[in-house]
Amino acid sequence: MLKVRVQEDDFDTTTEVAALTHGRTDIGAVATFTGLCRGEGETLSALELEHYPGMAAKQIETAAKAAMERWPIDGMTIIHRHGRIEPGEQIVLVIAASRHRDAAFDGARYVMDFLKTDAPFWKKERRVDGTDAGWVEAKEADDKARERWSNAP
C-alpha cells in the first residue's frame, strides 16, 4: 500500500499512521520521519517551496517503490508540502510500516535520502525583514547520503 501526496496543506502524523495501519494486525513496526522548517536563529520568516507538479509525485513514488522492493515493507505514506512554510511548520512526512523495525527504519530513511536529491522541489528563503534571502543550495552531504544506498547491503 503506497500513498503519495504533494499538497499545500499541513498534515497530521497520527491520522496518517492510523490510516496506514488501521484494521491490520500484521504490522509490528512503524517508522516516521518529519522534516520541519528551521528558523535559522530567528532570521528566517518563511520558506517558499517551489515544485514541479507532475514530476514531484512521480519521483517520490519511484523512490518509495524501490524501498518497498528492497525491504519487506507493508505500507508507505509520503506527503510533501509546497508553498509558504514558516519556521516550526512541517514540510515532509515519510511513514514506513513493516513487520520488522529494521525494514521500517531503512525504508523511511532511504526515501528521505532520495527525496532530498531527486524530488523536484526548491526552497527559497524569505528573511524576517521581508527580503529575499535567495535559493537554498543543494548539499554535498545529501548526495553522499543518497549514494550510500548503492553500496549498503
Binding site: G35, L49, M55, K116, A119, W135, A138
Partner: protein, 90 residues
Amino acid sequence: MADAPIERKLLYFAWIRERVGIEQEYVALPGSVSTVSDLLDWLKGRGEEFAHAFEFSNVIRVALDQDHADHDDLIGDAREIAIFPPMTGG
C-alpha cells in the same frame, strides 16, 4: 522528406526560471541539438537572460518527460523538457 520538427514544452524552475524570466515555452529544437548538453549550449545562446541562466550549465539538471536525464543523454522524442537547479526538497 524530413519529419516536421517536434514541438517541445520547456519548463524552467527556481533560479533558472527567475533568470530566464519565463516559466515555460514551446520550442522546436534545431537539428544540431541531440543531447541534453547540446540543448543547454543552444539555450545559452538565446540572449542575455539565457546566457546568465546557463552560465554554469554543468550544475543544471534536466528531466525528459519527468525522468531525470544525464547531460550526455539523447533528448529523443521527449515532449516535456524541464530545466532546474539541484533539488532541495525534503
